[in-house]
């Protein structure tokens, strides 16, 4: 391989790891906003634990991205540089992760749709020829399995609950649905890595929709009609909400570079 091709392959791999890191970090950060505000102590603890899992997964992907960036590179970067010193247009997270939490129904629906996507995504990623991506996926998959069960149980409880909870769930699902499309549209860096990470997007989408249908039917909720889908997250085009998250999350490192505590 000539050096340009090697560089491009490296860039794609870094972007791939960053896309997964950013998605987990932003979702984890959003969920952490519930800490101390959950509807019951047990659920407060549960959602904080899930946030911790996601931030841990993000760290693994950031460390790997930094490792790849640092190969034959004079300027060394760390996982913290990648999380705290990149701007919104460099973040590649799925748009669904940056949406504000809204009420409990919205948070639960968001987590369920996202975790189910993560579940099927990682289930394929564990077979990647890239050993480190496969290892992180294997580790994450066990944790995500619990997230799917926990959020799914809540979808059923609220959907098949009172008139009030059902209405809130219907509204949440309708508002979240346009953000589920981009999960199944590969970005250029995903297409370019086809040979080492082979994900069949239409199979993944089928598995995802089947699982969502199964839980929704128990929750007496229906899948929304086909609608126009948002996209752009994977390519750095975000909603206005991401900037506010980054402002809060990155403030300390930007104001006091290298600060440790």
């Amino acid at each position: 391989m000539d050096s340009e091709a090697t560089n491009n392959a490296k860039k794609d791999l870094v972007n791939y790891a960053l896309f997964l890191a950013d998605s987990s970090l932003i979702m984890g950060h959003r969920l952490s906003e519930w800490t101390g505000h959950g509807p019951m102590i047990e659920q407060d603890i549960a959602i904080t634990n899930i946030a911790l899992d996601l931030i841990g997964q993000a760290r693994n992907f950031y460390q790997y991205a930094a490792e790849v960036i640092n190969i034959q590179n004079d300027k060394k970067v760390t996982e913290d540089d990648l999380a705290y010193l990149r701007d919104a247009n460099e973040f590649k997270n799925l748009l669904i992760t940056e949406l504000p939490n809204g009420d409990w129904a919205f948070t639960i629906s968001k987590l369920f749709l996202f975790s189910t996507w993560q579940f099927y995504f990682y289930q394929t990623l564990i077979y990647s020829k890239d050993e480190q991506l496969a290892a992180i996926a294997e580790k994450s998959l066990k944790e995500v399995t619990y997230h799917v069960i926990w959020s799914g149980d809540w979808v059923i409880r609220l959907g098949d609950g009172t008139e009030e909870s059902k209405n809130r769930m219907k509204k949440a699902v309708l508002n979240l649905w346009p953000y589920t499309g981009e999960m199944f549209i590969p970005a250029a860096f995903e297409d370019n890595l086809k040979n080492s990470v082979s994900i069949n997007f239409s199979n993944m989408q089928n598995d995802w929709i089947e699982k969502v249908k199964l839980v929704f039917s128990e929750a007496t909720l229906s899948i929304p009609e086909k609608m126009w889908m948002q996209s752009g997250g994977k390519n750095g085009v975000h909603t206005e909400h991401l900037g506010y998250i980054l402002a809060e999350m990155q403030f300390m490192q930007r104001a006091y570079p290298g600060l440790e505590w």
Partner: protein
């Protein structure tokens, strides 16, 4: 005094044994009744030229205790004369409760935490029905939340003695 020990290559069997024994005395920071060897966190101990490498695996991706565990390992080995200790984190194969020793499970139970039921390759573990109450040993217990005081535990309550308890979930 241990120059000789570190330089001997290949290491004598007794040194590997000694290192494992020392590691068995390092307890998990969050559940201080069980050692990191009982938990299955220590995967390997390797002797390289003038270096001891301890390979550990995190229980959960976000486990905040990993750096602390690494520091404790270094301290315990240093206190016993080992030098040049390297801690390596390994993600694959992913940690599983199947690696927990029987002794570890007994210690957990005695401490009031119900040990994992079943094997992790058996997907039914997610629907585990019968978790024994560590206080009164009744099997009549119920799940309160999949997530407890730490990532690795779920919250249960005993329907017999009414006490709440932590369950170290199968993973």
């Amino acid at each position: 005094m241990n120059e000789q020990k570190i330089n001997s290559n290949p290491p004598a069997f007794s040194e590997t044994c000694e290192a494992w024994n020392i590691l068995s005395s390092v307890n998990d920071p969050e559940i201080p009744v069980i050692s990191i060897v009982d938990l299955g966190i220590v995967r390997d101990v390797k002797f390289h030229e003038e270096m001891v490498e301890v390979i550990i695996t995190p229980t959960y991706s976000g486990c905040p205790a990993m750096d602390f565990i690494g520091a404790n390992i270094k301290q315990a080995l240093t206190e016993n004369g080992f030098k040049n200790i390297k801690i390596t984190h390994r993600l694959s194969p992913a940690w599983t409760t199947d690696w927990m020793t029987d002794e570890g499970k007994q210690k957990l139970k005695a401490f009031g935490i119900a040990p994992p039921v079943g094997k992790s390759f058996d997907k039914d573990y997610l629907e585990t029905q019968e978790v024994e109450c560590p206080h009164c040993h009744s099997l009549n217990t119920q799940l309160i939340s999949q997530f407890g005081s730490t990532s690795c535990k779920a919250l249960y309550q005993c329907n017999n003695c009414c006490e709440p308890f932590d369950y170290f979930k199968c993973h």
